[in-house]
Symmetry: C2
């Protein structure tokens, strides 16, 4: 369970695009990001480069352009982030987080219903789910 590389906030925005559209070229990444950010293309290139250096992305040359593919998987990354988040702020206890949300009326009725159904659908690990 080696630690995944650190991905900064700005880099994460790049990764969201790559995870969604890979394999994807520099220009395609840039175009997508320009729809939601005001970053200079130069900035985006820097971020991509750093992600390569960190081992988050690889690329293949296709004639003169680079086409990128993620090395780090999105669900792994988010999973690790979630664990460390819960560890840091809720002592690793996800029920404590939910508690806090419920206490502070942060959940809508719809969300509560959704959660209930998530929890009822599934009882014991190992028990075959007949869906």
């Amino acid at each position: 369970m080696h630690d995944l590389p650190k991905i900064s906030e700005a880099e994460y925005e790049v990764m969201k695009i790559v995870w969604k559209y890979a394999p994807i070229s520099t220009n395609e990444i840039t175009d997508k990001l320009l729809q939601t950010t005001a970053w200079s293309p130069k900035t985006i290139q820097t971020l991509i480069k750093r992600l390569v250096t960190k081992g988050v992305l690889t690329y293949e040359k296709q004639s003169r352009v680079f086409v990128y593919t993620p090395i780090v998987k999105e669900n792994e990354y988010i999973g690790q982030k979630s664990s460390s988040f819960l560890e840091r702020y809720y002592n690793g206890d996800i029920t404590a987080m939910l508690s806090a949300y419920i206490e502070n009326d942060k959940l809508s009725e719809a969300e509560i219903d959704h959660l209930r159904s998530l929890l009822s659908k599934r009882s014991k690990k190992g028990e075959p789910s007949h869906d």
Copy 2:
């Protein structure tokens, strides 16, 4: 809903102590932290100082020592962190986070039961809870 000051990871370790034991002096903070970290007392002092500069802590002189009290409240801070975490990694949807945890069998039976009871205990906002 002004944004709370940013607290770095190391600074957060200091804050956990202050939130728990305030009002608390520099030396007391240092002693507590030395039980769980290998930081130099000088480092700890720097962190405390930065927290004061950032407006996270205040202090009162008591003869020659400073005694600190939090300005930022723990639950507010954790609440804000939780929101931004969910926003970033789960599109603000806490049920998506729970889903992922359930999918990946990250929850024990006990946790699932606990969550179920949290959710059943409370139904609609505004409805008086007769605890």
